[in-house]
């Protein structure tokens, strides 16, 4: 009797909140992105990103210092070989800071691509056991390296003080260039992570891809080496615009971003939108194939 009573009462309670009806049927063709649902799962996004950050440097001696060591040592190597020995021009800026300023967004980007591409395969246990919008997975792995970026940024501030450089007012645009790098990584990450579920070749492609991409991006060299008339074409590589933008916003080199940036934004939007739709299209097979 008592349990029946309780049943009635709680039944009354639960009838109120959500009368959401979930319809399950095979999807056909191209499906909607369901971005609202991703938004509803923002707490999961937060917790997955938080887990990545918490776990990353567990059981390491140096811990979060790794976030600084990697770009910093790369900067040292670049300074010695490209700055000192090859004497690449650095637009009147001390070469170390010139390189480090580009290595910051580059390291973020390489890390974000690497993590997001392997994210679905690495989360197979979640995908086969729980439902949630799968977009959350590559999204969280693109977001969590931002923390490393911020840590490494502190070193840049130190270097700028050391070299006695002051940022221009253009620094307010910096977050937008970071956003451009993030969206680029997300777009590429959605494509590669979905492909990786089906074709594990992707895992082997990524190291090459990031290496080639590094050469195609003016990290070690100045984009002034690229002839003016090819600039628009250079914008097809969004990371070129990101790196240029970082130097412009922080060090005041180069020109105000113009057509090259416009080309990059267009490319990024194309990659991201197509990536999102491809991802959603393949999403239904993830649990069965991964």
């Amino acid at each position: 009797m008592d349990s029946l009573q309780r049943a009635r009462e709680s039944k009354f309670e639960i009838e109120n909140p959500s009368f959401a009806i979930t319809v399950i049927r095979p999807s056909r063709g191209w499906v909607s992105l369901k971005l609202r649902e991703v938004w509803e799962y923002r707490e999961l996004l937060y917790f997955l990103g938080w887990r990545d950050i918490m776990v990353r440097y567990k059981q390491t001696v140096l811990g979060a210092a790794w976030a600084i060591i990697q770009p910093f040592l790369t900067m040292v190597v670049f300074s010695v070989f490209f700055g000192r020995l090859a004497k690449l021009p650095s637009e009147g800026i001390p070469y170390p800071i010139f390189a480090y300023c580009a290595l910051l967004p580059w390291h973020y980007f390489a890390e974000a691509i690497n993590r997001s591409s392997n994210s679905l395969v690495g989360s197979a246990n979640l995908i086969t056991k729980v439902y949630f919008p799968r977009l959350v997975i590559p999204l969280s792995s693109v977001l969590s390296p931002v923390v490393d970026f911020v840590i490494a940024f502190v070193v840049l501030v130190g270097m700028m003080l050391y070299y006695g450089m002051w940022p221009t007012a253009a620094i307010v645009w910096l977050p937008l260039f970071l956003l451009l790098a993030l969206v680029t990584a997300l777009g590429v990450g959605m494509w590669l992570s979905a492909l990786n579920v089906q074709y594990r070749d992707v895992r082997y492609v990524i190291p090459f891809l990031t290496q080639f991409w590094l050469f195609a991006t003016p990290v070690a060299y100045s984009s002034s080496l690229v002839p003016e008339r090819w600039r628009g074409l250079y914008g097809l590589n969004p990371m070129a615009s990101v790196v240029e933008g970082f130097r412009w916003a922080l060090l005041g080199t180069g020109q105000t971003p113009g057509p090259m940036l416009a080309v990059s934004v267009a490319v990024v939007l194309l990659v991201m939108v197509s990536g999102a739709f491809y991802f959603r299209h393949m999403e239904k097979t993830f649990a069965d194939v991964v």
Partner: protein, 432 residues
């Protein structure tokens, strides 16, 4: 609006077996495959063969239709591979159905596994939040239930210890505690109670009962008929992806038991979840008693004969054959392994088609249900391997030859035993 919580209409799910075994392919394979496939298909049409595609797929669910009322607790039972988990996966939107339609009224929580997403490096506290979020709980909700979860799991002292230092029991308790505090209107539960020690299982069953009294709708997959009978008013019996019976739990459970017991011979020809090269395949396993009669179950202490009928695909005799026949408890604990080489027996040569018999003179297992599996290797390469090939039912028997039937249920094995008593002798009086 009627009081329906779940409506399922003609739900079907097709799996590609080849795809599942290979899991993934390389781009090159699929490119060459894409180029050659049309020719191969054409060739098979020319030769008058039916399409090979039909053989490579399996309907894990086929035209499943049923309705569940709000507040009902429905059990889903069936043999291994009947499609129970697939049904839950489709209903919880983990995987899409191939055909059909289902609608679910209300917020769904699914528990296909406890501790999904647990990270060994994180502490108990951190994992509660992470796992809760993965199962669909809001942060505020976890905050509110946090103390209750910790108390339920009985791990107060270790809440700030990384989970990798937990014992497996603690791990499971914590995982279940989070899951048990999930409060969706509709709960889909796979066999998660088959974990942990007996006391904790009882606690979990109690929690499940509370849930059902709270007027929530529950779909509950289990092999534990006692739990199903206890918790569910109605049950669905699935077999080979189809609904065999849907109705009152007691009727459905008895149909299931009949079905399980009707197989004194376990046919394995249709089993798709097998591994190995396939050079040799076990067709069926027959249980026989000491007199060679087919039986459905053994009594404790009886002579048991396991007979594997096999066939080789190469039509050749094989040498260097190893047959393993593990027996596991229903909870997945390995009870024993029967294996020819281990026991000092080597097959000189086995014919391309035949029967392999293994006799256990006096079965020392306590009454209960067990799973058996088998694995056959030829020259060290697995030829055929089926996990949980069948169920071994052991009933009360006269193990000690006392003329009385003993229903031993304590422990795992029954041991032959010799008892005696000796008086404590004075040292001086001792003959030594």
């Amino acid at each position: 609006m009627s009081d329906i919580a779940i409506r399922v209409e003609n739900l079907s799910k097709l799996y590609r077996i080849g795809g599942r075994q290979e899991r993934y392919k390389t781009l090159r394979e699929s490119l060459t495959g894409a180029v050659t496939a049309p020719f191969r298909r054409l060739w098979s049409v020319v030769r008058g063969q039916s399409s090979a595609v039909a053989n490579e797929t399996i309907w894990a669910l086929k035209d499943v239709s049923f309705e569940v009322q709000r507040g009902e607790v429905v059990g889903i039972i069936g043999r291994n591979g009947a499609g129970k988990t697939t049904l839950l996966k489709v209903l919880s939107r983990i995987t899409e159905p191939t055909k059909g339609y289902a609608e679910i009224h209300g917020r769904v929580g699914s528990l296909l596994e406890v501790g999904t997403g647990f990270h060994p490096e994180l502490t108990g506290r951190e994992n509660i939040y992470l796992n809760g979020a993965i199962l669909g709980m809001k942060r505020a909700e976890i905050d509110r239930k946090f103390d209750e979860i910790v108390a339920f799991a009985e791990i107060e002292k270790f809440i700030s210890t990384p989970v990798k230092h937990y014992s497996s029991g603690m791990h499971v308790r914590l995982a279940f505690a989070v899951a048990a505090h999930l409060e969706p209107e509709i709960l889909l539960v796979d066999e998660v109670l088959a974990v942990g020690d007996v006391a904790f299982q009882r606690k979990c069953l109690g929690k499940m009962e509370d849930v059902s009294h709270e007027g929530r709708t529950v779909l509950f997959v289990s092999h534990n008929m006692a739990a199903i009978s206890h918790l569910c008013e109605r049950a669905v019996l699935l077999d080979l992806g189809r609904i065999v019976r849907y109705g009152d739990t007691s009727d459905v459970v008895s149909s299931y038991l009949e079905m399980a017991e009707s197989d004194s011979k376990v046919l394995l020809v249709d089993r798709r979840d097998r591994k190995g090269s396939g050079e040799l395949r076990v067709q069926s396993i027959t249980l026989r008693n000491g007199m060679g009669e087919e039986v459905k179950s053994f009594r404790v202490g009886e002579t048991a004969v396991f007979e594997l009928a096999y066939e080789s695909s190469t039509r050749k005799a094989h040498k260097n054959v190893r047959v393993g026949f593990p027996i596991d408890s229903i909870l997945g604990q390995r009870v024993s392994l029967l294996q020819n080489e281990m026991s000092g027996f080597f097959f000189e040569e086995i014919p391309p088609k035949g029967r392999i018999m293994c006799k256990v003179p006096q079965l020392p297992l306590v009454a209960g249900r067990y799973h058996f599996s088998f694995c056959i290797t030829l020259n060290g390469i697995i030829a055929d391997w089926v996990i949980k090939a069948g169920i071994l039912e052991i009933t009360a028997g006269d193990f000690f030859d006392t003329g009385r039937t003993l229903d031993v249920q304590d422990g795992i094995v029954v041991l032959k035993q010799v008892w005696q008593v000796e008086p404590e002798l004075e040292p001086v009086a001792s003959s030594f």
